[in-house]
């Protein structure tokens, strides 16, 4: 694969991840009814556990919303509070799951 093709692939992937990231932010903001400041903190910091408690209940709710929106299924062995909290990691997982299905 040539240098230009690799760069294009990387750029495409980053665009996809950015798009997924924005969708995740939108779902979280709507579900949690986040105020402007915590939402900005989330957008900048990228970690949900810095703006709210990520307990098992929230995790289940977000898993349901994300599974429905992206038409994927989270593997229970791989999903935990840490993954749900880290929006970058979550976006990558969703991108991979979509490319497989």
């Amino acid at each position: 694969m040539g240098h230009v093709e690799r760069e294009t692939q990387v750029t495409d992937k980053m665009t996809v991840l950015d798009d997924i990231h924005e969708v995740i932010l939108g779902i979280i903001a709507k579900r949690l009814s986040l105020e402007k400041e915590p939402l900005e903190q989330l957008r900048v910091g990228g970690r949900l556990d810095r703006v709210t408690a990520v307990d098992s209940l929230l995790m289940v709710e977000l898993v349901l919303l994300l599974e429905e929106h992206f038409e994927i299924r989270f593997d229970p062995e791989h999903i935990d509070a840490e993954m749900i909290s880290d929006l970058d990691r979550l976006a990558e997982f969703i991108a991979d799951a979509r490319s497989v299905s």
């Binding site: 810095r50 408690a53 098992s56 289940v60 709710e61 349901l64 299924r73």
Partner: protein
């Protein structure tokens, strides 16, 4: 001779007892594993009746741990694996815990002064003859301690005797008509009163089998329901709400003869949605102190309806002067039952809310119709119900007030977008403190389910709210329902 609870369990031999992930375990294999663990426990040189804590997720190992503790005559103290070090230390101190059964992932939570028994290692290393049952039957011995929320910041530990446990088992077995042919699926943790009594002990007592789930996710739970074909499914309104989003009308679920919801009132609109999916849920009402009090019949749900008291359970409703209220009027619920607890551990001298004629005073308010059907109408205290687990706002406030820079703190329950109760806190800070700082501080001291979902910084908290149930004022000012 074993006491009736264990006798019933140990009579089952090769019948299927537990399905954990994709592995099946018979009663015989559970007995064998529990005896191996019991042998190890005896080497700890604890006193007869001493409490052993168990820190395990729902699993075959958790069942083995319970059987081993019961087998050796110690008192079983199951605890949430979500508790933090400080919370566990407090409970261990209160209960005089000197030993814990856990797994590799939970052993790090245990203070150094407490002996750790890692179950995996015990079962892998066990050699030699297995001990016969060592426990002498004593119905008045402390059989189990269950952690529940207090109202003063400290969790309370409810002690229940073997006799009380056995009485409740008989009541619920008759109420649900459980047989050895049943198969239970529950995501209610075994440390929770409902999880322990109705999802662990009840199936074992009846010779029924248990499908374990170490944590709840809706699709995996649905997969288990369709694959393992349980006949009894037990959850909370939160679990059923999530399940209602993944179940499709064409799924064959008629092998489930009983669906049970407990921990909080099932919303009427959710009940309607579930009925449209052929899921008729029965509501179970009880507490750590009383065991199961009543189970509804799964008829069309009236708001708050929890059915008639079980056989042997008496319920009455009283007003503020402890006089019984007139038919149809709301009152504070009082319960009399052979399943009542024997007291709170480590609280000698503290008053137990019990009347002179032996009725335990619940904090729930309710009504009762002419046929004896009970309906819950509210609570008399400020407890926050986080998906069936009561959380004491005072405990959260105490942690927040211990944080440097926080001048005032108020914690209360408020409804989220789905109508489920969540924790909100108001804070008055003396210096600039971020939400992240607050969450980080709390996360080191409180189990995740006790953390606030919403944190609001305010200039002042009215003094009349501090130390009192703030519901009326908060409804007006801060929009809680």
């Amino acid at each position: 001779m074993l006491d009736p609870v264990l006798q019933s369990i140990f009579n089952q031999d090769d019948r299927l007892a537990v399905i954990d992930r994709d592995q099946s375990f018979s009663f015989f294999s559970l007995q064998r594993s529990s005896r191996m663990l019991a042998k190890r426990l005896k080497h700890l040189k604890l006193r007869h009746g001493e409490r052993i804590a168990v820190l395990l997720p729902n699993s075959m190992h958790a069942v083995v741990a319970f059987l081993a503790v019961a087998h050796t005559g110690y008192s079983y103290l199951p605890l949430s694996i979500d508790l933090k070090f400080a919370e566990l230390q407090s409970i261990f101190r209160k209960c005089g815990v000197r030993a814990v059964i856990c797994c590799a992932s939970t052993s790090a939570l245990v203070p150094e002064t407490v002996q750790v028994v890692e179950l995996d290692k015990v079962l892998d290393d066990a050699k030699g003859d297995l001990p016969e049952c060592l426990q002498k039957p004593d119905p008045e011995r402390e059989f189990v301690c269950l952690s529940t929320s207090g109202s003063s910041g400290d969790p309370r530990i409810v002690a229940r005797t073997a006799a009380a446990i056995y009485a409740n088992l008989r009541q619920v077995t008759a109420g649900l008509q459980v047989t050895a042919e049943d198969r239970f699926l529950s995501v209610v943790p075994f440390w929770h009163a409902n999880g322990f009594s109705n999802c662990l002990l009840l199936p074992l007592f009846c010779g029924a089998s248990i499908v374990t789930m170490d944590r709840f996710l809706p699709h995996p739970m649905l997969d288990l329901i369709l694959d393992k074909k349980p006949t009894m499914v037990i959850g909370s309104p939160f679990v059923f709400r999530a399940l209602a989003q993944v179940v499709e009308p064409h799924y064959r679920l008629d092998h489930v003869r009983t669906w049970i919801s407990s921990g909080a009132a099932l919303p009427v609109e959710l009940d309607k949605k579930l009925r449209s999916l052929n899921i008729r849920v029965r509501q179970l009402y009880g507490s750590s102190e009383t065991g199961t009090i009543s189970i509804s019949f799964g008829d069309q749900l009236q708001a708050g309806s929890v059915g008639k008291p079980l056989q042997g359970v008496r319920v009455r409703l009283v007003d503020g002067n402890n006089k019984e209220v007139a038919q149809g009027h709301a009152g504070k619920i009082q319960v009399s039952s052979p399943a009542l607890f024997s007291g709170y551990v480590g609280e000698l001298g503290n008053e137990i809310p019990m009347t002179e004629d032996g009725f335990y005073c619940m904090e729930d308010l309710g009504t009762q119709d002419i046929e004896g059907n009970l309906a819950l109408t509210g609570r008399n205290d400020a407890m926050i119900n986080v998906s069936g687990v009561k959380v004491d706002p005072v405990e959260i406030q105490q942690v927040l007030m211990s944080m440097p820079g926080i001048a005032q703190a108020l914690a209360f329950g408020t409804k989220d977008a789905n109508g489920l109760e969540m924790i909100k806190v108001l804070l008055v800070a003396e210096s600039k403190i971020s939400t992240e700082d607050v969450l980080h501080y709390c996360r080191n001291r409180l189990a995740e389910y006790k953390l606030p979902r919403s944190i609001e910084m305010v200039k002042d908290i009215p003094q009349e709210l501090m130390g009192k149930s703030p519901r009326k004022l908060l409804e007006n000012e801060y929009g809680i329902s």
